[in-house]
Amino acid sequence: MTLNPQLNADGSLRHLLTIDGLPRAILTHILDTAESFISVSEQEVKKVPLLRGKAIFNLFFEASTRTRTTFEIAAKRLSADVINLNINASSQSKGETLLDTVDNLSAMQADMFVVRHAQSGAAHMIARHVAPHIHVVNAGDGRHAHPTQGLLDVFTIRKYKGEFHNLRVAIVGDVLHSRVARSQIHALTTLGVPEVRVIAPKTLLPVGVEQMGVHVYHDMLAGLKDVDVVIMLRLQNERMRGARLPSVQEYFKYYGLTQEKLALARPDAIVMHPGPMNRGVEIDSSVADGKQSVILPQVTYGIAVRMAVMSILAGN
């Protein structure tokens, strides 16, 4: 199993499971294709016939209205048939295993699975199991990866900054538990961003994160200095219970993004957040709604990026 399970023998993309290990050319191709899909949303009929007759199953083992919705819109704009399945504990507790579920749906002539699961590696497992004509898109697995989010984030950065090779990007918050952060780091470093910083207390950083090519800061004031992009991560409330943080108040004081702290970044810095935001926990409302925020455009671009990913996979 040393072969990259995402790629066909000819090096083309078969599944999108993680950005880790993908060549820059594939990322650039996805971003360029997404650029073309932006214009589809400007059409009167916001739809192209590309995936007509294809069945795309949104397989969500973990609730997420927003990600599911953007995948659904993207698939519908490609004219695919979309089937949403929220598989909660109930059907799994009847003894049907994850792979049983996948087999049953494959028998319903699925062409693509969009998978969200609470466990790292779930999408890889499904990709290993499915028939050769079926494509798998990882829509978030545990702490591991959320590649379409990472791609839409770099797409957004490219839209606002043009190039990657002269940027400083800071990712702030709970990197340890964040699949989004891992995908962002791989996407940014692959595309040639020379300086990616992560800013967090030691309890929210995984061991050896430096080996992913990032600079570690514990002091947010130093970490934000002169950056072009600030990416804030969502902080889950349960982090207080695991003794990783003392309180929301202390976290916000030292790691929340306020106008004063943002002033340390470059004047034209943009602020991003994968959502959903905790206002007053990791980000102040005045920043989230401020003129440097590109949080809403991120959502719009997310649709074009997912259209690009699905159409490239379906055609490979």
Binding site: T97, H117, S120, G121, H124, M125, D141, M212
Partner: protein, 428 residues
């Protein structure tokens, strides 16, 4: 039944014998080694030319899954696997369902195993009731029922007061306490070594300190209580160093490592392969190297299979949810040989780690070729190669990180109490 094993290269680590010679068996015992005794008329002659004749293997950790987990494996299937792997004596951990915490359960297991006339089974009793880590078991009664030591299997005791008292009580009767060192708080929720691989794959991690903190605690309590301790499945370089120092100070402890940890590291997890979900987790390559060195210099006394049959349904899950464990009885010998070959270790020394030394830890008169002792013997072909595929495994558990590997060294015949319990031919 009299058996004459002819022309084999006979290796006995205990007596340091390594010579082409003959072994004579009568009435289930070894009658002679070397010259044929007078009036010996063999019922059967086994030609062991170009083969190795050594003591039957002694495995310190083999889960037979009875009672409670018969859907994963049965005593019959796993005893078959043991014999096919050349294992003639094995210790089984108490984490059955229910756990081995009552004499009746132990007697039943011993009785069932004995009736199969295959490998000798030596149960380890539960150190605490239901392995819950709160109340100690009737250790003396359990010993009388057949337990050779007391263990918590993979359920470490969190309450150090209970641990200290369990060790004291065991020391009263001179029982050995078998502990897999793990701090349950530091290990909580983790499924992989706290290193770069877990960071990259986003797997909840178990730090090395989960092992070293527990080793420190156990060593200090062992000094204080004078309990004899056997540390199970060491996985990290610092823990091995601690044991090395403790042994140098004269502390009466022993330890083992598994075949998995001897050969693999976190890097092998690849793309979330659940066959590499093991307890303790596979650690860094420097930890694996320390295990290889520790087994060579004797800090680690024995190599075990940590045989844990898991069915496919429990394995075909996302990494963290997949049940930990791997089949191993049939891989113990070839993986010991692989280590010896790679590290330039002599055959006799490698075999000591899976015969005589584990037998000593168990306090058994086994693991050696001694005249007058039970004829538990393994005959193997050192050069034969075979591939680890489900069809080649007798264990009901087909999951192992070594699936697809080519092994060198294949058992051709196993004898227990002078009876042939396995011959390679009946496999084909």
């Amino acid at each position: 039944m009299k058996i004459h094993i002819k022309n084999g290269r006979v290796i006995d680590p205990k007596s340091q014998l390594d010579a082409i010679t003959d072994v004579y068996i009568a009435a289930g015992k070894i009658l002679a080694i070397g010259a044929m005794p007078a009036d010996f008329h063999a019922n059967r002659v086994i030609d062991a030319s170009n083969q190795i004749v050594c003591p039957g293997l002694v495995d310190l950790a083999a889960r037979l899954r009875e009672p409670g987990f018969e859907y994963r494996a049965t005593l019959e299937s796993e005893m078959n696997a043991a014999c096919a792997g050349g294992v003639t004596s094995l210790a089984c951990p108490p984490d059955t369902d229910p756990p081995l915490d009552e004499p009746g359960l132990v007697e039943m297991l011993k009785f069932r195993a004995k009736n199969l006339h295959q490998a000798h089974v030596y149960p380890l009793g539960a150190l605490t009731q239901k392995l819950e880590g709160t109340r100690i078991t009737e250790m003396a009664e359990l010993r009388d029922a057949g337990c050779v030591g007391f263990s918590q299997a993979d359920a470490p005791i969190s309450d150090t007061q209970v641990l200290a008292r369990a060790m004291e009580y065991a020391a009263t009767f001179d029982f050995t306490v078998w502990l897999r060192p793990e701090d349950s708080y530091l290990a909580k929720g983790g499924v992989a070594h706290d290193g770069f691989v877990a960071t990259r794959l986003g797997l909840p991690a178990i730090p090395t300190s989960a092992e070293t903190v527990a080793v420190a605690t156990i060593l200090l309590l062992a000094r204080e209580t004078n309990a004899r301790v056997h540390l199970c499945r060491l996985s990290s370089a610092p823990a091995i160093d601690m044991v090395r120092r403790a042994k140098a100070e004269g502390l009466n402890i022993s330890c083992d490592a598994s075949i998995n940890h001897l050969h693999l590291s976190e890097m092998d997890i690849g793309y979330f392969d659940p066959n590499y979900h093991l307890v303790p987790p596979l650690r860094a390559t420097r930890d694996r190297d320390a295990i290889r060195a520790g087994l060579a210099d004797g800090t680690i006394d024995a190599l075990c299979s940590d045989h844990t049959p898991v069915d496919d349904d429990a394995k075909q899950m996302p990494f963290a949810e997949a049940e930990a464990g791997a089949t191993g009885l049939e891989l113990l010998l070839p993986l010991a040989l692989k280590w010896a070959q790679e590290q330039n270790i002599s055959l006799i020394k490698a075999l000591a780690r899976i015969t005589h030394q584990p037998a000593q830890i168990l306090g058994l008169n086994a693991g050696s070729l001694t005249v007058g002792q039970a004829a538990d013997i393994c005959i193997f072909n050192l050069d034969a190669r075979w591939q680890v595929i489900p069809a080649n495994l007798r264990s009901q558990g087909k999951n192992t990180p070594f699936l697809g590997y080519e092994m060198q060294g294949q058992v051709v015949c196993t004898l227990v109490d002078g009876q042939v319990v396995f011959e390679a031919d009946d496999k084909q």
